[in-house]
């Protein structure tokens, strides 16, 4: 499920990872994430966020840079069953990939912290 919102409810969201180009927030309450990128804030559930990650990682950036003559410098990130699409330039893809990579590193770190602080000591 993906919906787009205009207002960022920063008070209840946790900033998972951000760069100058955008950010990903987590809402514990709604058990979902908000991706603030390319001029909109889109809500992603667990499955859709994984699909977004897969779609972005799938773009062969190196190949696009080397063979830029053949195809236009736009990538359509269509996420099946999430009724949501991004039309991004190669630079935007690189920026979004950086945000996603950072986000998933933070998820892993958070997982380790949760284990260490709350799950393992008791």
């Amino acid at each position: 499920m993906v919906t787009t919102t205009q207002t960022k409810e920063l008070s209840t969201w946790t900033n998972v990872f951000s760069t100058a180009k955008g950010a990903i927030y987590q809402s514990d309450e709604e058990r979902c994430w908000y991706v603030d990128f390319a001029g909109k804030v889109a809500k992603f559930d667990y499955r859709c966020l994984l699909k977004l990650k897969k779609a972005v990682y799938h773009v062969d950036i190196e190949d696009r840079l080397l063979n830029s003559g053949k195809s236009p410098d736009v990538e359509i990130i269509f996420i099946c069953a999430c009724d949501h699409t991004y039309v991004l330039s190669l630079l935007q893809i690189i920026a979004l990939k950086e945000i996603l990579e950072g986000t998933f590193v933070m998820f892993e770190l958070n997982h380790i912290i949760q284990d260490t602080l709350y799950r393992l000591p008791y």
């Binding site: 998972v16 987590q26 514990d28 058990r31 667990y46 499955r47 994984l50 958070n110 997982h111 949760q114």
Partner: protein, 176 residues
């Protein structure tokens, strides 16, 4: 911040991808064995045909075991596309050589998943995989034994007829 990913799924995205890859491998194995069953039947090797029909069913069962495990752990099981199944073989012996190759590649693939799980300390999936490690012992033994029949019986005269008959009797019953 809640550990939402872990709440949703016991297995990591990487392990999930490897398990889905294995689903596909088992489905592929099943189709390969089915093609072998057809070839053997068409060429008069009825016992071997029956043997491969049974193998095909077992591989289907392996596929479902992986498939359901992924779902039970909160993952997304992907129904695989299976293409490129070879339908013709050059000889009776070639069928069994390729059957062994297929089992070896499955064993290697399961070892690879096991190694990944050890790295992540996903002992739950390791425990699940133990059944398959034991199964591969049997699968490789049977495939190797079938090839051995070509050596000990020989293909001359009524050799192939004898080999076919004995393929029907291959069993692995180690208690170890």
């Amino acid at each position: 911040m809640k550990d939402l990913i872990r709440i949703k799924s016991l297995i990591s995205a990487e392990v999930e991808a490897l398990l889905n890859q294995q689903v596909k491998k088992e489905a592929y194995s099943s189709s390969v064995y089915l093609a072998m069953a057809s070839w053997c039947n068409r060429n008069g090797y009825d016992f071997s045909s029956e043997y491969f029909f049974k193998q095909a069913e077992e591989e289907r069962m392996h596929q479902l075991k992986f498939y359901k495990y992924i779902l039970d752990m909160g993952g997304n099981a992907i129904s695989p596309e299976v293409t490129g199944i070879k339908q013709e073989y050059n000889s009776f012996r070639e069928v069994f050589e390729e059957a062994l190759d297929q089992e070896i590649s499955v064993t290697q693939s399961i070892k690879n998943i096991y190694a990944r799980c050890l790295k992540e300390q996903d002992f739950v999936t390791n425990e699940f995989l133990n059944w398959f490690l034991k199964e591969q012992r049997e699968e490789e033994y049977k495939a190797r034994r079938a090839l051995e029949l070509f050596e000990v019986i020989g293909e001359e005269g009524t050799g192939r007829w004898q080999i076919d008959k004995h393929v029907g009797g291959i069993k692995y019953d180690s208690e170890a």
